[in-house]
Each structure stands twice: as structure tokens, then as C-alpha cells.
Symmetry: D2
Subunit: 273 residues, 4 copies
């Protein structure tokens, strides 16, 4: 057996008498001692959050938990309608929408800000310095033909109400780090640089805040998914209580379906080279 690979982990290991998690005794050190949000932070980072970091982390999870009838919520409800015996399928179906267009904004913003910070020789110390760094980052993003992530919201056109709430908490807790500072500067300079009046959105601020409290960039979207998990369970619970939104949406879509003949597409392929 000496040549068998071993499988290292810093998470859970068990033997007959104990369950250890993160190197601590689950039963005596963790259950009832730490909040779920605290544990989630540790599982992701392998570090204890400071109390301020933990508060920001919980605040971000709360901010991202639910946003009503999003496409992900509709998908989860549809799947629950079809397979109510498999709640895990309904939840998974909803989480699978956690991609580039909706839930990915937090991660995209975090990466955008981290790249800009990594490219700076040293961090600015004045608002003007932050504005200059932000303007430079926005211009380079535009030059590359890419959107600036974290800007604009299809509904909150005058400003996303989560923004001041998140900044207040970060400031109170001494967690307004470079990512949030740069994001705020992006909000100040973007209208002039881009020519568009797009306010900062909450998903972007959440990404910046998570980066500032030490969540690795490649796990930012994972945190969003954890938050959304709670919201999706709320939607599934409503269906389970008999709200029937999924059935009504399905009936409405079916009723308004119309057949359209496909365009006569030009033949493609088939010529031997």
C-alpha cells in the first residue's frame, strides 16, 4: 500500500470517536460556538476571520441572498414543479445560472479591481490618486473592448441602494480596503471617462468588499452562490407552500407560444476540400 496516493485536506476528517473540521473538534469547538457565516469564511479561506471581517462577510451574504424573480429563481421553481421530490435538483438548477450575466458580476468586479491594483506601483493616498488609478483602469478596459464590471443596473438607474449600506459597514468595521476604495473611485470617474451615467451596482460592491476581507478571487463567485442558495430555498419553500408561480408561468408561456418557420438557412459544409 506504500505506493497508494494519499489525499490531503485541511477540512473534515473523522475517526471512530471524533469529527475534526479545520483542525478543530467539530463538536466541542465549533457547533454552537461559531455562526454558519463564520464557518463558511473559514472553509473557503482556511483562516479565522477577524470580527470586522466576519461582519462584512455576513453583510455581503445578506445583500446577495435574493433579488426576487431572477432567471435563477425561475429556473429553480420550474425544476421544483417538474421534480418536487428532488429538492437538490431544484436548488442545483437555480445555482447553475450563476454565470457571466447575472451572478458573475461580483467576481468580475473583484478581478477587474485586483488587476488594476496589481498594476499600480503603490496604492494611492489621496482621493485624486484613487481617481487617477480608476480612470486609467476604466480607459484600459474600454480600449480592450470590454465592459467595466460593476457599473449599471437594469432597475436601479439612480443608484443601487445596497451601495451606501455596504460602504457604511465596511467603514465602521475598518474594512474599507483598496478594492472598495478603487471601486468608489470608479463610480466617481466613470461617467466622464465612459460618457455614460451608470451608477455602481451592489453586486460589484459585494465583490470589492469580499476581496478586501481576503476572499480569494477565484472563490468570489462561490460566495455569491452560497448567498443565493438561501434565496433559492426561499423560492422553493414558496412553491412547496402552494404559491404555484411556476405552474402559472408555465401555463402563460405555453399559451403564448407561436410556431415560426425557420429561415431558409444557406447550406453549409459538405464540400470536400
Amino acid at each position: 500500500m506504500s505506493d497508494h496516493p494519499t489525499y490531503p485536506t485541511s477540512l473534515g476528517v473523522s475517526d471512530r470517536h471524533t469529527i475534526s473540521l479545520l483542525g478543530q473538534d467539530l463538536s466541542t469547538d465549533l457547533i454552537g460556538k461559531v455562526s454558519f457565516g463564520h464557518l463558511a469564511y473559514r472553509l473557503i479561506t482556511l483562516r479565522e476571520p477577524t470580527a470586522p471581517q466576519a461582519r462584512v462577510f455576513e453583510a455581503v451574504l445578506v445583500a446577495l441572498a435574493d433579488h426576487g424573480f431572477t432567471p435563477t429563481a425561475i429556473a429553480a421553481r420550474m425544476t421544483y414543479l417538474s421534480a418536487p421530490e428532488s429538492i437538490q435538483g431544484a436548488l442545483a438548477s437555480g445555482l447553475l445560472g450563476g454565470g457571466s450575466r447575472f451572478l458573475g458580476v461580483s467576481e468580475d468586479t473583484g478581478r477587474f479591481l485586483a488587476d488594476a491594483l496589481a498594476g499600480a506601483d503603490e496604492l494611492p493616498t489621496t482621493p485624486e490618486g484613487w481617481d487617477a488609478l480608476a480612470a486609467d483602469a476604466v480607459r484600459r478596459q474600454q480600449a480592450a473592448g470590454r465592459f467595466v464590471p460593476g457599473l449599471g443596473h437594469h432597475l436601479h438607474k439612480d443608484g443601487d441602494p445596497r451601495i451606501p449600506a455596504l460602504y457604511d459597514i465596511a467603514r465602521e468595521e475598518g474594512q474599507l480596503g483598496p478594492h472598495l476604495a478603487l471601486f468608489e473611485a470608479v463610480g466617481r470617474v466613470a461617467p466622464e471617462v465612459t460618457g455614460k451615467a451608470l451608477p455602481l451596482n451592489g453586486a460589484g460592491a459585494c465583490g470589492a468588499a469580499l476581496a478586501d476581507i481576503g476572499i480569494p478571487l477565484e472563490l468570489l463567485r462561490g460566495v455569491v452562490l452560497l448567498a443565493r442558495c438561501a434565496g433559492l430555498l426561499g423560492h422553493i419553500a414558496e412553491e412547496a407552500r402552494g404559491h404555484h408561480v411556476a405552474a402559472d408561468v408555465f401555463a402563460d408561456v405555453e399559451r403564448h407560444a407561436v410556431y415560426v418557420a425557420p429561415d431558409p438557412a444557406p447550406a453549409t459544409g459538405g464540400e470536400d476540400a
Copy 2:
């Protein structure tokens, strides 16, 4: 538009200036004011937990978050190995194992206990009374040819260390309700009734505790999935940091694959009736 269906929800609704969640203002009433666990309880039940209920809820989430290299964790890691750009797919892949054999125990136990309680004319008031109710429930389960859920663990054969931790907290918080009381009694009487020395397991106790704090039975598995979401993110984060467990398991499995010819199965079907 008068005949258009409306889609009712008690969760999130937004307009240009506000985001409301559960009838409260997300930004001013919830972000930074409540923990993520607290919010999750409310999204699922539409009720405010009492402080004792909230503490038990967080304790259960912590107890269920991770149990090492379970099949669900292995599935999530395999999927991350194949599609690292789609963290939502890895997470969903892991959650999809939340079914009857592993993560379903909490729900099965909660339902078993709730059925037994519903069948009792009145709740027992003495340990002997609980034991009698438990013995009756176990016997009826056996008579129906079904396992008693919440008994036994493939590793913790002398007792699951989470059990005392969970009962202590429930007792401290005044939340040791009828489901936990009956479950405890099941643990006392099961060896004699079933002839097998199977101790209570932690997943079962979690189901009982959740039922006692008012989580609807049909959402018990959903709570387990929320808890496991954090653990799966921990596994994904380990892969992302370069642990390569998935790659090593894959290589080991591939190396020990052997082809076996199928049994010459008897022909079936094909006869016209």
C-alpha cells in the same frame, strides 16, 4: 393586461429606488443587521426566529457543513477538475448527491418523528412515556419493512460525537422539543426493539432539531444542502489552491480499471403478445 396572471411572492421585490426583502428594506433593515443564518431561516419559514431558535439553526448548519471526502465532495472536485471555469457547475454537481443515501437522513428522520408525534393522542410527559412512543414507532417502521432513519453510522459506531453537542445547545436554549425528545427515546429503546446496537447519528439529530425550531419537513433537506454548500466550497477552494485530489483520484481509478465482459444476459422482450 387585466387578464395577465400575477406572480405573488413574500421574498424580494425591487423598484427603482428600493430593494425589499421579506417586507423589509434590504439596505436599511437587513444588511449588517442580521446574520446570514438568521436571514436563511426567515427566507425558508417567513418567520423571525427567536434568539434561541436562531442559535440552534446556526449550530445545525455548522454541524452539517462538511464531513470530509464524501461522495458529494468527490463529485464536486471531479467536476471542478473538468470545468474549473464553471464553479457553479462543481457546486451543483456536489449538491446533486443530496438524496436518499447520504444527505437525506435528516429529512427522513424529521418525517419519521413527526409522523409518530402526529399519531400520538397527546405528548408524553415522562421518560417512560417517550420510550413507549418511541418503541411503538420503531416497531411500526420495522413492520413496514423500513429502516429506522437516524440510527447508525459507518464510522462512529460507539456514538456520533455531534449528538451530545446538539442536545446540550438545544437544552440550553430551551429548544429541546418533541422531535428531539422522541429521537432521544428512540436511541434508548432501539437496541432492545431492533436487536441491533445502532447509536443515534448526528444527521438524524439535526433533522429533529430543525423540526423542533419550526423548519417545515419538506425543507429539511434544503437546510442540509445550504449547510453542505459551504463545505463544498471548501473542497473547491482546496482544488483551486492546487491540492489536486481530484486529479490523483482520477488517475488512480483509471489505473485500476479492468474490463469485464458482460454476463451473457438472457434475451428479453421481442415476443409479440
Copy 3:
């Protein structure tokens, strides 16, 4: 390494120079020699289908591939809208609706028929004999408080047009076996036995046909999922070509969302036992 487990399979194994599948050389014996439907039958059953079995199998796959804007199709489109870069997520999201209410009918019907056949001392040889067996099966299902699977369709109230097509092919190919014969008899006797004029539905007939050609009962739903996979790709392809059904449904649902305050639920839990 002698104590290392081995992992047996009758499917694919590879070495440096060959890829073997089902004990044959993939490149010389299978690619271009067999249809995809034929191979799928073999992967599931480990048996070569006869030509008649293969034709029925392909017919069933075609019959089940798409049924328009079902909840599963809507879920897949919603997920594609949210995460268009992850087509596997959109497909998986749609397949996850393959449960009890919609796509599970074929399996439920196959199991119902197989149980009834297993309970018969010998197979009937006359229409009257089949009718008696069917009436008995329907009555026992009703006595157990369960629906008779395969009966009724929310749209095709006068008969599902797939039924005659499937029976014609099965008869032509000599594959009208006991499951299809019993299902046909169920259709004859059900109105009188149940007092409801519910015609046979196509999903049920597909389950019966698959059972007759030797698909194991526990894989019936798997075949339905394979069929549906093609339909879901069709829906995803429409979204990719710019149909925007998902975006329009999302916008319509969001526009008609209304907040409802939850019922003041009675407090539950919290009393110490």
C-alpha cells in the same frame, strides 16, 4: 498494490494504441458502423439490439425528444440566459426537471405494468384476458390511493397522437410485447374502472415500449433524459440564435411580480419537552 481495489467496467477502456468500448474496437467496429441510438441501447443494456428493437428504440427517442415550452425547456433557457458560457449548465438545469411530474411518467408506467405482469400467474392469451389483468391492476392501484400512470394529458384530451404511431411501429416490428399489450388493455378498461375518460398518453406508451424491448426499469427515465437532451439543445440553440424567449419571459414575470405579506403563521417549536 495487491490490496488495491480494482474498478470493473464493461464500457470504455483504453491503452496507448486502442480505445475499446463494450469489448469492441471503437475505431474499427463502432464509429461509422452503428447509429448513436444503437450504441446508446448497448451502453445501457450491454446487449446488441435486434434490428426491430433498435427501430423501436429510435422511435421512442424521437417521440420523447421535445414537447415545446415545457418547464424543463424554460429552466434550460433561463439558465442559458444567465450563464451562456456554460452550455453544460443550461442542459443540466433542464434535465434536472426529469422527475416525478413530467418526465417520470414513462418510468412510472413501465414499473406499474411490470409489477402487474409479475403478479400474473401466466400471461393472458386473449383480449379479454388482458382486460381482466388490466382491470385488476387498475383497481389495486386505486385501492392503494395511487394514480394510474400513463393516463391523461393536459392537452391531448381525446387521445395522444403518439399512441397509434408507437403501436404501429411496435406491431410492424414484432415488438408489441406484454407491457404494450397490458397498457393497451389499461386504456380499454380504465374509463369504466375509474369512472374517468382519461386516454393513454404517449409518455406512458414509451415506457411500455422500452420495457418490451428489454430496457431495465431503473433506466427507463434515463432513456427519457437522453431523448430530452436533444430537445433541450434545440431550445438552447434557439436562444443562441437570438430568440430571447428567456429574456422576454423573465421580463414578463418581473413585471407582474407582486409582494404579498406572509400569513401570520402560528408560532411553532420552542417548548422544551
Copy 4:
């Protein structure tokens, strides 16, 4: 109701008496008349394949259906072990690995070839012309710091045996179009241009072949997923027949798990800006 959106589709629409698919009557025109592979091609492209296109399409589906104990197959088996009552979850879990590292090669190769072809003023007419175009494409890919997709296989180091099989069929059917021609040229020139002896792989050739028969680039991965669906059902069927590979892998992984303390990570975040 006049302002209600309509939902256009060219796939399935039904009314009380008919089910129409792709503008044809499902029951009279499609069931029993076309193979499942043929229908899948049409659902994806909205065009009838020619007989040669249909044969290449089925050949590619067969080539991609299964490759043994891949990470996707292991994930599906693990999920089936955990939730055997939810076969759709096991299948979805496996498909979710259809991302960049394994199943994405076909799409990546198709896109790489299509880009190179789009950049050519006119298609080459001689082998030397194809080689020049291929060498140019490979060089540009390298200059951009990207891998050339479709090259190399962790097992088939002397050449993937599917390559000659696929080219033979494409040639026989007159479907050796520009993508396959360019891919072949890439195989000829890559060793000299890249300095590495990496042979063409089968997944890449499948992507080229699909592009040549008119599958849209954004659906190439979808076709791979459809093919893999059949293989995953084969793995699930083996578990259902009692092979227990998943249980044995799980036990082996659990047995070789070792706890490692995390690196004392440098503190991050938390400084107010």
C-alpha cells in the same frame, strides 16, 4: 392581452389533436421515420442533414459517447451512489464536467479552425497551401500565449485511433471540408512549428467534423454533451446493476485521506484605505 409578449419557437408546438415538431407532424412524419441522431441534428440546426452529413454526425456521436472512468463518469457514479432515486441528478452531475479541460476540446478546436479559415482570403487548394495556413494559425496561437486545441492526449501518445476512422468516413461521404482539412494540416506542421511531437486527438477531429457538417460553433459542446449522455447512462446502469465502483472509490479515498494543517497564510485585507 394584445400587449402580451409571444414566445416564438421552431421546435415543438401542440394542440388538442396534434404534436408538431420542426414544422412536421411528430406522429406521422417523424416517429419511426427518422433516427434519433437525424432528429438531434435537425433540432440543433433547423436544417435536414443530407445523408452524408447524417452519417458523419452519428459517427461523431459514437466516437464521443464514452471514454471509460473519466472525471465526469466518476462524478455521475458518486452522485448515483448518494441519490439513486434521482437518476436525472446523476446524469446532470456528470454532464456538468463538460467544460474547458475535458469535453470542451471539440468546441475549442472548431473555433480555432473557424477563426483561421475566416482570416484567410481564400481557401487553399493544395496541401502546401493548407500547411501554410495551418502553420500561420499555430504561430498566431502561440504568440497569443495559448495552447493549440486538439493536439495531444494523455494516453494516445502515438496518435489517437479515432483520427483515421473519422477521416475515412468524412472522405467516403464527401464531408472532408475546410475544418477537417485544416486540422489535418495542423497535425502535419505542428511538430515543427511548436517543437513538440503532439499528435492530433479525436476530440479535436470531432469538433472539425461537426463544423464541416454545419453544426454552429456555439453548439459544438452541446453535441459532445449529447454523446456523453449515452455513456453516462452506461455508467449509471453499471452502478444500478450492482458494480459498486462508486462505493469502492469512495471507501478508498476515505481510507487514504490525511489531514494537513493549512499554511499560515499571510494576513490580507482589513487596512482602511
